[in-house]
């Protein structure tokens, strides 16, 4: 069964722009988006809401990163860039599937044993499938879809934290 995770989207060259952004949905091969070290992650994505002919390249990756008050750390376990070359007849040639109104693709990656997903207070470790779309206009758009590696419990606040 495939499951869809909630995306975190952003333009990477200047945030909060008013340009039309694509809707990217990713479905995972685990319903609860919960994986263990050594598992194989398989994901399928669909890019909708924009003209596929306006896309020049797609980067898909499986990464972990830290989030918190300090500098970010990042690790990449899978990365692939697909250049969508425009033919003279207007169609595009690539390993991703392109129809008139959307673009789809799939990826698979063997997950390492660590680092495990961690929901701390000062720092968090997140795993995600990241789809980055490059447009012919020069701008790009990133969509991240979180999944979980391992089962480290969520850190709870100390009992007197709300006082």
């Amino acid at each position: 069964m495939l499951t869809e995770s909630k995306p975190m989207d952003q333009n990477t060259s200047g945030s909060y722009r008013t340009q039309l952004n694509p809707k990217i949905s990713v479905t995972f091969n685990r319903e609860n988006i919960q994986y263990s070290g050594g598992d194989q992650l398989r994901a399928h994505y669909i890019v909708e809401g924009i003209d596929p002919q306006s896309i020049s390249a797609v980067e898909r990756s499986v990464v972990w990163y830290t989030e918190g008050k300090g500098e970010e750390d990042l690790g990449v376990v899978f990365f692939e860039r697909i250049q969508l070359e425009k033919r003279k007849d207007g169609s595009q040639a690539s390993s991703v599937s392109l129809s008139t109104d959307h673009l789809t693709g799939a990826l698979a990656a063997d997950l390492p044993l660590s680092p495990l997903s961690y929901e701390g207070i000062i720092v968090k470790i997140r795993w995600c499938v990241r789809i980055r779309i490059f447009f012919r206009s020069g701008r790009d758009f990133v969509s991240e879809h979180i999944f979980f590696l391992g089962s480290v419990p969520i850190v709870r606040l100390p009992a007197n934290a709300d006082k």
Partner: protein, 208 residues
């Protein structure tokens, strides 16, 4: 295991230079680059800690790249970086390049020497400093000042990124206090809000 994600809109990845927007209605980024051309291609952005110097520099770099310029970004961490700057100033093509250097004041008086090289070669340079050094005659492109209105707007935009923010409210008075407590330093104020957000987000989740 729960699959809860406590995304905090005040974490570094959302507040680092380049991730937060340039909000000035009076000065556009493109007009700043045009002004840079009109003032001999070398200028300074100055302002106190956490006032947005690195943020504006990052946005200017993005625009310059989109305009086809060959952009070199440096962040000075000690005076030892002088060697890298000399090498860069001496080797790049002055007409098609822009050099963006953050934390220039860390070079001390060595900066004067580097400015002479840039002047001599006609290199296009933007520097960020806390205060303009007495020996530097390059014009100030922008003087950054942190103000409460911009801070409120940025907090609003950052919180709009996270779905959990619907349940979390920061009053204007509280934001005003946070900014004052951090002496107008946006970066430090965001870090304080990170803690507030984290606390409220978890309390509301577990209470609900």
């Amino acid at each position: 295991m729960s699959t809860l994600v406590f995304q905090n809109p005040f974490s570094t990845r959302f507040t680092r230079p380049g991730a937060i927007p340039w909000l000035s209605a009076s000065t556009s980024l493109s007009s700043l680059l045009l002004r840079l051309c009109s003032i001999d291609n070398r200028a300074i952005i100055c302002g106190p800690h956490g006032s947005g110097k690195s943020t504006i520099l990052s946005h200017l770099v993005s625009i310059a790249k989109r305009q086809g310029l060959n952009v070199h970004c440096l962040r000075i961490s000690s005076w030892l970086d002088v060697i890298g700057v000399i090498r860069l100033f001496s080797t790049i093509h002055p007409k098609q390049s822009l050099v963006a250097i953050d934390s220039w004041e860390l070079l001390g008086f060595l900066g004067w020497f580097l400015c002479q090289i840039a002047d001599f070669r006609g290199v296009c340079v933007i520097l960020t400093v806390h205060e303009v050094p007495w020996w530097n005659r390059w014009p100030v492109l922008l003087h950054m000042e942190a103000d409460a209105k911009t801070f409120h707007q940025l907090v609003h935009k950052l919180m709009a990124k996270s779905s959990r923010s619907k349940n979390i409210k920061f009053s204007r008075a509280m934001l005003h206090d946070v900014l004052q407590r951090n002496s107008g330093n946006f970066r430090e104020a965001f870090f304080e809000l990170y803690d507030h957000y984290e606390r409220q987000s978890r309390i509301k989740t577990y209470a609900g």
